[in-house]
């Protein structure tokens, strides 16, 4: 038992090192604390920040953006095919016919939701154009019955999330001097993927919280939980 007592005590110099280390920590803390208490010095030390910086910011390649004034959010997702009542060809409308996204999804600039175009808007063209195609016949059938096709929601956020289209469009499109309304599809593509290559829209971005926050980080969006969670 005596042998025990001898071995379990740390050697003096080890404990000295420990206490020195601790003392240094304490002194550093007190010193740093006192220095930082002076606003001017603190201001010198830190550059004014526009956004909350983070250890993750290095993960984003800040040079790569699809268009000026934006850093593309990272993340891909392989969405499943959604069976819509009418197989709407996005590619035909956007790529071939060069119809602006905002022509149909007209609420996106004015409201939180982009909205599915009212059936009357479809019929505005399709009472004349391509009336003999089977999909248009389907549409006409609905219209004649006085109904709208029951479209399925593809990009659905959880119900506790508040996302507003208008503000994102404002930031990336309308307030962005490098962008014109004609190029709105590039803005939409940030979260919706390239719809010019799709018929029925498919989820192409994960639209998870991480996806949102990474983009917010890179582009200076908000980090207030309550702004996006309701």
């Amino acid at each position: 038992m005596e042998a025990e007592a001898e071995t379990c005590h740390p050697r003096p110099r080890r404990s000295l090192a420990l206490s020195l280390w601790t003392a240094m920590m304490v002194v550093a803390l007190i010193l740093g604390n006192a220095l930082l208490a002076k606003p001017s010095l603190a201001d010198e030390i830190m550059t004014p920040r526009k956004q909350v910086p983070s250890a993750f910011s290095g993960w984003l390649d800040e040079d790569v953006g699809p268009f000026p004034g934006v850093v593309a959010p990272e993340g891909t997702y392989e969405g499943k095919d959604v069976e819509q009542p009418i197989e709407f060809p996005h590619d035909l409308h956007t790529a071939t016919n060069k119809i602006n996204c905002l022509y149909c999804h007209t609420y996106a600039r004015r409201s939180a939701v982009a909205g599915i175009p009212p059936t009357s808007k479809c019929m505005g063209c399709h009472s004349i154009i391509a009336t003999d195609r089977p999909r248009i016949k389907q549409l006409t059938e609905y219209w004649d019955k006085g109904q709208s096709p029951p479209w399925k929601k593809v990009h659905d956020l959880p119900d506790y999330v508040r996302f507003t289209h208008e503000r994102h469009l404002k930031k990336f499109l309308f307030d962005n001097p490098d962008m014109t309304v004609e190029r709105v599809d590039e803005v939409c593509a940030l979260c919706h993927g390239d719809v010019t290559k799709m018929t029925v829209a498919k989820k192409q971005k994960p639209l998870t919280m991480g996806f949102c926050t990474r983009c917010h980080q890179a582009n200076g969006g908000t980090f207030d939980c309550q702004k996006c969670h309701k």
Binding site: A42, D224, Q226, K230
Partner: protein, 283 residues
């Protein structure tokens, strides 16, 4: 690297907040004044809150168990200890004392530090926010709230409380909280959000009177005044100024100590954003 920078920034901010007494990097500081002398205790605010915020009607049994969900409750007391009526004599000489109690949006909130998952936190708007989908339901926040103004979803209410078609009334700007989630008054954050949204879309700042909270809007006697304390033109700021209540102090230092305006349980150092103006009695 960001760690060090954040550390330095946070500490410097903290230190400044100590030195400068209430240094805040707030965008807004939403605050309220409730004039108890004007409050008639009619309960309109409470029902307006039910309508605006998707509050569940829990029913008689659950209300009896103390599981009611009134974010804004109007309390009623019969005695008036402040003017010496510690006990009411044989018959009431005055009316009662009504107290509309909603979350006081404390600036030094006791609920925030105890939340294990940071579902309760302080927003840059000076709001004491509760993020429902982050909440794990430890209920520590409610236990630590001296005002007892946090309400817990003890059940899933959406089937019982909103039988169809009552569910069509639900406000889509707020979630319907499910079981196991703590909730409380948000100062109608959805209205704040939408006003800020409108203002941002119009490239301006939110102005006083752009929006009202549901309770303030409906109050028949305009006893509730709500607004941005940082906006010096706002009515609420003027009232705080007039009655010399300040944030950042435990004990209000007033030129005239008789001046109305106090915050509930100031001595607990919770720094509520709601100032009550004393009820006046003509005796």
């Amino acid at each position: 690297m960001s760690l060090v920078r954040n550390f330095i920034e946070d500490w410097s901010r903290y230190r400044r907040s100590i030195n400068e007494g209430g240094f805040h990097e707030y965008e807004h500081m939403w605050g309220m004044v409730i004039d108890l002398d004007k409050c008639t205790g009619c309960n309109a605010c409470s029902v307006a809150c039910y309508a605006e915020n998707n509050l569940a009607v829990v029913g008689e049994e659950k209300f009896e168990s103390g599981q009611g969900m009134h974010w804004l409750r109007v309390e009623r007391y019969w005695d008036e200890p402040n003017i010496g009526n510690e006990r009411v004599r044989d018959t009431q000489e005055h009316g009662g004392s009504f107290m509309p109690m909603m979350c006081q949006q404390c600036n030094s909130a006791t609920c925030e530090p105890v939340c294990p998952v940071a579902a309760a936190y302080h927003t840059p708007d000076g709001l004491n926010a509760q993020i429902y989908n982050r909440c794990v339901g430890s209920r520590y926040c409610a236990n630590n709230c001296p005002y007892r103004l946090r309400y817990f979803n003890f059940y899933s209410y959406y089937e019982d409380s909103w039988p169809s078609p009552l569910d069509m009334q639900l406000n889509p700007d707020i979630t319907v909280r499910d079981k196991g989630v703590m909730e409380k008054c948000t100062f109608c954050v959805q209205r704040i959000r939408s006003a800020k949204n409108t203002a941002k879309m119009e490239n301006r700042e939110v102005a006083d009177g752009d929006f009202q909270t549901a309770c303030q809007q409906t109050c028949p006697t305009t006893a509730i005044v709500f607004g941005d304390l940082l906006d010096h033109d706002s009515e609420v700021h003027k009232l705080w100024h007039k009655f010399q209540t300040k944030l950042g102090t435990t004990k209000q230092k007033k030129d005239n100590p008789e001046l109305r305006g106090y915050r509930l349980y100031e001595q607990l150092n919770t720094e509520p954003s709601v100032t009550y103006l004393e009820r006046v009695r003509d005796v």
